[in-house]
């Protein structure tokens, strides 16, 4: 794979260098000066793009002529320095122009992507594939605990003295009960948008007492209710205090008003997640998700529906980088599978297999793509239509967890039963 990187500063790159908030927070100098926390203090954020996002539009293989052959109307044009083309990362890959805000992070070496990662299970069902990702066992359809919940349980056991028993180590924003966080370890779950900032009826002490009396029993429902009430009060307090501090309220109102779109909501969810994890250092695992990536028709190219989503994703990542830039913090961006390499008959893409997976953090060997890439020639495609999965998502996560969180081999085997360590990825993380 060509590894050369073009440092020619384009006009817009310069602008981003000066204006991009990400650049300031991404500076390696900044974190090098602060005292490095132990790996046990490392934080991991997983951002799941539900619906199978089109990685070939985000990490554009502009160096592969087949890309343009397969996608006559939706390909992102070769980098030409204009805003209507891919942003060159190296001789093979480029960024979607809507993701320009990520270029500084790539250049600073804290952002990378693997173009052909995913689940080895070949299902093209969103729901099965998401299930496999979330429980960490490809091919298993039955019930199971989420791997982030299992990781929270392991971390809690390891640090039993430091964090009191029964305190959540993991927080999820925006979904009722994502499978990835389901399991025996306590988890803080925060609803989408502004609802997270309100204490509601429980904010009134007298009402709260009356309701809590109803739930004073030792049954599962009562215990869940009491845990929920406590967590909700804390969440609302933390978020509204932070809003007051940062004058975020107006911005939140804005985001909530434009409401329906998940895109805007994702940025707000990321802000909430970051605030909660900053204010409570026991929260070390965070989960976020965004829907709307199932682009079967008119997905667009440089502009259009997908470009809009990618722009919001980039803004969210810049925001996350701001809040998760300590030495061992890591952000993972993934999706259940990729989409067909060729566009379909309605200027969209159907369900595929392998996909680009993104990693962001100071521990990552960023600034270049990782893993195998054999191009889009017909003989290299899975079933003649999709990117292959060269790297099991669990092998990628294993690298991340071992290097940034110090998770041991035995623990990894329990989180991802049956996965194999992938030595081809040994250069993925800084050692």
């Amino acid at each position: 794979m060509p590894q050369g990187f073009d440092f020619t500063l384009q006009r817009r790159t310069l602008l981003q260098g000066f204006l991009g908030a990400g650049a300031v927070y991404a500076s390696p100098v900044l974190w090098a000066q602060s005292k490095a926390p132990a790996a046990a203090d490392a934080r991991l954020v997983v951002l799941f793009l539900r619906g199978a996002y089109d990685g070939l539009s985000a990490l554009v293989p502009h160096g592969d002529a087949n890309y343009y052959r397969l996608r006559s109307s939706i390909a992102i044009p070769k980098p030409d320095g204009s805003e209507q083309s891919a942003i060159k990362l190296d001789n093979m890959f480029g960024l979607h122009p809507a993701m320009a805000a990520l270029l500084p992070l790539w250049q600073q070496g804290v952002l990378t992507a693997l173009p052909c990662a995913g689940s080895p299970d070949p299902t093209r069902s969103h729901f099965d594939a998401q299930h496999h990702w979330e429980i960490g066992v490809p091919g298993k359809s039955g019930s199971g605990d989420g791997w982030m919940n299992a990781l929270a349980a392991q971390r809690a056991a390891a640090a039993a003295s430091a964090s009191g028993p029964g305190k959540a180590l993991a927080v999820g924003v925006g979904e009722a009960n994502p499978l990835i966080l389901a399991g025996s370890a306590p988890v803080q779950l925060v609803p989408k948008g502004q609802a997270a900032t309100r204490q509601g009826a429980l904010g009134d002490a007298r009402t709260r007492d009356a309701v809590m009396k109803l739930y004073s029993g030792q049954d599962k429902l009562s215990e869940a209710f009491r845990a929920g009430a406590e967590s909700r009060m804390q969440t609302a307090q933390t978020l509204s205090a932070d809003m007051a501090d940062t004058g975020m309220a107006a911005q939140e109102m804005q985001a909530a008003n434009n409401g329906a779109g998940n895109s805007k909501g994702l940025l707000l969810d990321a802000q909430h997640l970051a605030t909660l994890m900053r204010q409570d250092r026991r929260l070390r695992l965070g989960f976020l998700s965004a829907g709307g990536w199932d682009t079967h028709a008119n997905q667009g190219g440089v502009t259009g529906a997908l470009a809009q989503n990618l722009g919001n994703l980039a803004a969210t990542l810049v925001q996350l980088r701001k809040d998760f830039s300590q030495p061992n913090d890591m952000v993972v961006v993934c999706s259940e599978f990729g989409r067909t390499s060729a566009e379909n008959g309605t200027r969209g893409t159907d369900h595929g297999h392998g996909n680009a997976l993104w990693l962001m953090g100071n521990q990552v060997q960023g600034g270049r793509a990782h893993g195998r890439w054999e191009g889009l020639a017909n003989g290299n495609l899975h079933e003649g239509r999709d990117l292959p999965v060269h790297h099991d998502f669990r092998a990628v996560l294993a690298q991340v967890l071992r290097h940034s969180q110090g998770v041991g081999t035995a623990e990894l085997d329990r989180l991802f039963p049956g996965y194999a360590w992938d030595a081809q990825l040994d250069g993925l993380m800084r050692s």
């Binding site: 069902s125 509601g200 029993g217």
Partner: protein, 424 residues
């Protein structure tokens, strides 16, 4: 137009919904041109659930969605207006054949779909339900079927167009056979080819049109069945036949009956019950009424161990039913509350993005933070209601005792917020 007529506009003639949507686009374009901004999205004093006047053209779709929301909440909470079994079945089928309000042009049609697909066939033949869903504009637009045409067809300005697999896949994976139901990627593609040319017709009262010019007349094989065949020839009949075959498949019977048993009996229903229901399904050619009769006649349905946790929608509607029966302030404020609660609780009406529909098991809904939202809703909802004495016999002694200690004004809210009220 009177209030009743307005309220039912969402379920009226399909061409009028297309016309309304068209006018909405024009009105929004004009407003944008005049002001340079998209004012139609801003605050405009539009009162939610106020159906006294016809909707402003630029809010047509929103009005249709609200009318539909009001109708669904009312049907599911007023047994004197709608038979409870019919209301529950309507909710079940809408969810099983889910469409999402936020997808492109689907918005004005979701309510019509609920009434004329989910409700109309709720206790009829499953294959008729499935076909009605397949031909309804809401579904045709939601899963992109309306755009899927024979590969190489000529589109506007001479562009070529082709196949889209979206609907064909979800039809097999979710609506009928199930993900392990024995179909392959090739079957998905062949099914998509069979359905080419199925699209929307804004002028027709059915909203559906088959365009022969856009249909793939070549040879196709779906689950071993060849199309076109001498019996049917080529055309719309291929798709109708393929859909009916899927509807009658034993794996479909299994999947649909499992989901019915989960919805009405237990999160993990006994395999024997599912088998009994499947047998009924197959021996009656998918007669849903007969399947439901078998379900209600089963011992499992009545067994006290089979207890279901309410979904937010179940919870909202049962609370509305309780409060409406002891209160006479206008309904629409409660609908506003209920709609807001469902949003915050993770089950917005017409709001599930993906075609799998909402889950309805306790593992999904019995989650700490979400429970406190129920208490919020209950206490706000019951603020002006008289004490719902009739609920007391259904409550545990502990709940009755602790409610009795509180101010009368809070008692109904507490009854609705109690652990006892969380289960069906």
């Amino acid at each position: 137009m009177g209030q009743e007529a307005q309220r039912s506009a969402f379920s009226g003639a399909l061409p009028s919904l297309f016309t309304g949507a068209e006018r909405e686009r024009d009105a929004r374009r004009k407003a944008k041109d005049n002001k340079g901004t998209d004012t139609a999205r801003g605050e405009d004093g539009l009162k939610r659930f106020d159906f006294a006047a016809p909707p402003a053209p630029e809010h047509f779709s929103r009005a249709m969605v609200q009318q539909s929301a009001a109708w669904r909440l009312q049907s599911a909470s007023h047994p004197e207006l709608e038979a409870p079994l019919l209301a529950r079945m309507t909710e079940f089928w809408f969810n099983h054949l889910n469409v999402y309000v936020g997808k492109g042009a689907v918005r004005p049609f979701v309510g019509h779909y609920a009434v004329h697909v989910a409700r109309a066939h709720a206790l009829g033949k499953f294959e008729d339900l499935l076909l009605a869903s397949a031909k309804h504009p809401a579904m045709l637009l939601y899963l992109d079927q309306a755009r899927s045409v024979a590969t190489g067809s000529r589109g506007p300005q001479g562009s070529t167009r082709g196949l889209n697999e979206n609907y064909a896949r979800e039809l097999m994976e979710l609506h009928t056979l199930g993900v392990d139901g024995g179909y392959s990627q090739n079957d998905v593609r062949e099914m998509a080819r069979v359905l080419t040319g199925w699209t929307v017709d804004p002028g027709d009262k059915s909203g559906f049109r088959f365009v022969a010019r856009l249909h793939d007349a070549g040879r196709k094989t779906v689950l071993g069945q060849q199309y076109p065949n001498s019996f049917l020839g080529s055309g719309v009949g291929e798709g109708e036949d393929a859909i009916r075959r899927l509807a009658r498949h034993p794996n479909t019977a299994k999947r649909v009956c499992l989901r019915l048993a989960q919805f009405f009996v237990a999160d993990q229903p006994a395999p024997a019950l599912v088998q009994t229901l499947s047998q009924t399904f197959l021996s009656t050619q998918g007669d849903i009424r007969q399947v439901m009769r078998a379900l209600v006649e089963s011992a499992d349905f009545w067994h006290p161990d089979n207890r279901l946790f309410k979904t937010p929608m179940d919870y909202a509607c049962s609370a509305l039913a309780a409060v409406d029966s002891v209160s006479d302030t206008p309904d629409w404020r409660r609908w506003v509350l209920a709609v807001g609660f469902l949003d915050a609780a993770g089950q917005p009406l017409h709001g599930w993005q993906t075609p799998d529909g909402y889950k309805f098991d306790a593992a999904t809904w019995l989650v700490p933070e979400a429970l406190t939202r129920r208490a919020d809703f209950a206490l706000t909802l019951a603020r002006q209601a008289d004490t719902a004495e009739f609920l007391l016999p259904y409550m545990s002694a502990a709940t009755r005792a602790s409610v009795a200690q509180e101010r009368p004004a809070m008692r109904t809210g507490l009854l609705l917020a109690s652990p006892d009220f969380m289960y069906k």
